[in-house]
Symmetry: none
Subunit: 145 residues, 4 copies
């Protein structure tokens, strides 16, 4: 079995942060539509999107949100983290081709219940496009011994 966990419960401290950033491409949006079944023309149909208040196609909000899942699962706390809940506020659209930085920050740690709260933000060119809060369960160094 792998030991890819970046941080055990005991290694975490309030204020720690991590970021995962990627450009949301047209290919990402097309594939996300296929996986999710969310065929909203706002995401897939450039003609339709041109007639909306956005003026062009935008990424699925849940696609942007999935980058939060990436930073939690791969960087902070990292592998082994179990997702318990997530709140999401979609504050601005993400256009195809924009780079999104998903950042999480540890805001609370409950040692005995092994629960960690993270403040989550997705940022495009300095502007918050999505924010929310995650609650996760993190492996303890003891439990994994």
């Amino acid at each position: 079995m792998l030991d890819q966990s970046l941080y055990f419960l005991e290694d975490l401290a309030v204020g720690m942060t991590a970021t995962f950033e990627k450009t949301v491409s047209e290919a990402d949006v097309v594939e996300f539509a296929g996986i999710s079944g969310d065929n909203n023309p706002l995401h897939l149909d450039a003609d339709y999107a041109a007639g909306t208040m956005f003026g062009e196609r935008i990424a699925h909000g849940m696609l942007t949100a999935s980058l939060i899942s990436a930073v939690i699962a791969t960087r902070l706390p990292g592998n082994g983290t179990i997702y318990l809940s997530q709140s999401l506020r979609f504050r601005a659209p993400v256009l195809l081709g924009q780079s999104v930085a998903a950042t999480v920050e540890v805001t609370d740690i409950h040692l005995t219940r092994r629960r960690v709260t993270l403040a989550c933000k997705c940022i495009v060119s300095g502007k918050v496009v999505l924010d929310g809060e995650a609650l996760v369960m993190v492996p303890s160094r003891d439990a994994s011994a």
Copy 2:
């Protein structure tokens, strides 16, 4: 231009429901990892997953959540809906190959602000694996005239 919008604000009523169901395949999980960057071995590595409490690979929670996005965008309220917020509680794992039914139910309508609240559930074989609440903005028949 498409006219796939199923319901305008004025056509909605508390208690209306809609469902979108699909089987979450290994291919969905592999592609979701690529889009999101979430390479958690719990989703991608059968050997690793066998050693966890789940005993096998499970789907990304956000992948399951994306089916809620699909039912909102394509069925209730349908095209033109703008996602404002979503809460998600991950209550049980979804195994590869399981069929997930994502159901939303209108629980509140705010006509002047054009906001609609939906209770959201994802169900596998009768068991709730994810629930939460969505807040969306819905086009009005007037505004679109």
Copy 3:
């Protein structure tokens, strides 16, 4: 059963060449990241890549290398070829949207061991971006009788 094999061992001669060319798209890079797990922001994050010596996103070196696999498996020697080894020198970046021509040339044939050596090159606009050598095992006309 298919019979797409272009060349048996006895049909090969030193100096024979074949080429496979394709444009490496953003979609290819996004999917390659998903398959490989290689989420290097140099490939996926336009903002990050802008700050590197490349100035923009580049394709994964192994993605470019995979075109060599294509020309070997589908053109020279073709179906039935077994890959034994490959060396790769990454000499220049491939930008998204560039067309890569992967060329192989037979440089040595060992009839009794059924082994063939191929010199391999990937070229973009006349410039070698990758070169190396492949060693493969090729079906004999006798053995397949």
Copy 4:
């Protein structure tokens, strides 16, 4: 700009190792064929593959090799690493559904040229299916200051 680099040149030492593991699924193989153009029926055609010495479809060797790219780019040395060369020996087939652990180990460090040599292995159920050597260029703490 992100600072996702796990190890700068000065942080590396001979003997350090890292592993990335994933299950090579049918979906991975199908997508890899699409990206690479390597449509060898040994990978894509179960009927054809049944008649070969392997008895069933196997993964592309270059797909397995791409996991080495993942471990180098995301774990050791990590982001910012530039791939200079890679040798690959394909020693045994990888069947669809098998989990592959790609491991690299630092075997040589050339500080002034900023070059690092890594021994590379891909292992399935304890058996080496691919090995080789990578040469990479790694950012220095000084240069990035």
